[in-house]
Amino acid sequence: MNGFIAVYLRELLILKHRFWRMLMSFAVSPVLYLVAFGLGMGKNVKVGHQSYVEFLIPGLVAMSSMMQGFGINVEINVTRFYLKVFEEFQAAPISNLSYVCGEVAGGVTRAILASCVIVCLSLVTGLGLTFGPDFWGLVFLNATVFAALGVTSAMLIKNHADQALITNLVITPMAFLGGTFFPLKNLPPWARAPLELIPLSHASRGLRMAASHRPVSPEDCIILAVLSIAAIGLAWWSVDRAKD
């Protein structure tokens, strides 16, 4: 438990020292997407009976919580290859699992902060969306899945350059195709089937339901919960691979 607290507290202290800068960076891409796709398209573009902006915001939360959760990998890489503080963790008498949980909690915290930024933006614009416990529960699960994957990738890579490759090959495509910017329903079945499988699709669909007062499908929740546990398991396994 102490190991978890140490690792998580360190991430929190880093967050505290860079709080405003970080908040700004969390806001940049959602604001750009909102302006470009939301406001740019105007209120007349409808998806179902919602305006496109109302459709877009939960998708942006799904995307941002994925990106910022996964983004813990950048922090870990800096810690591992540049600051070398990762060796402190390797030498310390803490379990690999408490290390993983500490870093995942760090990623989830960033993801929740990033989601708060978008939620605040949308509250300011006065849209008819609600953000209840079901909404935040899904943000939490989505962030956990991707933070754990972020930890895994940070443990498996051998140098910093590999990281950009993983982000460009896996995360960026998911950000666009995971039901964030358009409803997957509109796709032909052959394209839809594989996209339904990616975790982000479940998160964006669930968040969209929760934000517009509709019941979230239990299937989406269960899939995300199972994936979080699996991803944490994967991260746990990967920690030992980082040793030379």
């Binding site: 190991g3 140490a6 020292h17 860079r18 503080v85 030498a91 310390a92 008498p93 030379d244």
Partner: protein, 278 residues
């Protein structure tokens, strides 16, 4: 400090080997460090000093052999590894938590160690703002947080000015005085000569010599005569001052600078490693 051979071991190493591909960074190393001893590993760049320390502190896996530390280890690695955005106290706090120290004990231990390492006035400064010598002292304070029984110092004075080096040397001696076993690596011969109870000479992954500084020096003699002339530098070694002085008189010629001095550890190192050069 003299260690009798009956003192228990703090570090035991047997047949330790580490291969990186075809390169043997360590090749069947065997030695032990007694409790309370200050043991110096002396060797040129690439000798395998860091590899050995990393294996002993669990950062690197050995290829085979035994590397055992009896008791908690503390580590000051060769490369600075502090959190630059955090303060001095915060860096120590995280370390205390990593080593399962109870929260209330951490605060008082931080104050104690920052006073001990003479950086108390920087407790709230971020690491980024410290000088190199201060960062080194934070590293040492951090490694001492959990009161380790064996402290590993990997080149603790590299790149520091002579004043700070002396400060760190005296700090290291005080830590040993409190009963901590210390294994220190260095390529500064005078550092090993001044601080160490025992010195192991590491070269190309093998131990070339292991003894007290005094015995290592005695292998060369007690007095040395350096002759500098147009042919370069030559050093002759003698068992006592009388024979050295006599030889000096015989060698005295025009255009030569001749110095009589005591044998240093450097003489022993040059003599011992020269023979093993590949």
């Amino acid at each position: 400090m003299n260690q009798s051979d009956s003192t228990p071991f703090a570090v035991t190493i047997q047949n330790l080997t580490k291969k990186y591909g075809s390169l043997k960074a360590l090749d069947k190393i065997t030695f032990s460090v007694h409790k309370g001893e200050l043991f110096a590993l002396l060797g040129p760049n690439g000798a395998g000093k860091t590899t050995l320390v990393r294996i002993l502190t669990g950062l690197t896996r050995p290829s085979f052999g035994i590397a055992q530390v009896n008791g908690q280890a503390g580590l000051v690695p060769q490369a600075l590894n502090l959190d630059y955005d955090l303060t001095v106290s915060e860096n120590l706090l995280i370390h205390g938590l990593l080593y399962h120290m109870p929260y209330p004990a951490i605060g008082s231990r931080i104050r104690e160690l920052l006073a001990y390492t003479e950086i108390a006035h920087k407790a709230r400064a971020t690491i980024r703002t410290l000088s190199g010598g201060m960062k080194r002292r934070v590293m040492i304070a951090r490694a001492l947080m959990h009161d380790p029984e064996v402290l590993f110092l990997d080149e603790p004075t590299v790149g520091l000015d002579p004043h700070i080096r002396r400060k760190i040397w005296s700090l290291i001696k005080r830590v040993q005085g409190q009963g901590t076993t210390i294994l220190l690596t260095t390529h500064y011969i005078e550092e090993a000569e001044l601080l160490a109870d025992k010195v192991a000479l590491l070269d190309h992954g093998t131990i070339v010599a292991l003894d007290t500084p005094r015995n290592l020096k005695a292998r060369m003699g007690t007095y040395a005569v350096d002759i500098v002339d147009d042919n370069g530098l030559a050093t002759n070694y003698f068992p006592d001052k009388e024979s050295a002085r006599k030889a000096m008189l015989d060698m005295g010629e025009q255009g030569r600078a001749i110095t009589l001095r005591q044998v240093t550890l450097e003489d022993a190192v040059v003599g011992l490693t020269g023979r093993t050069e590949k």
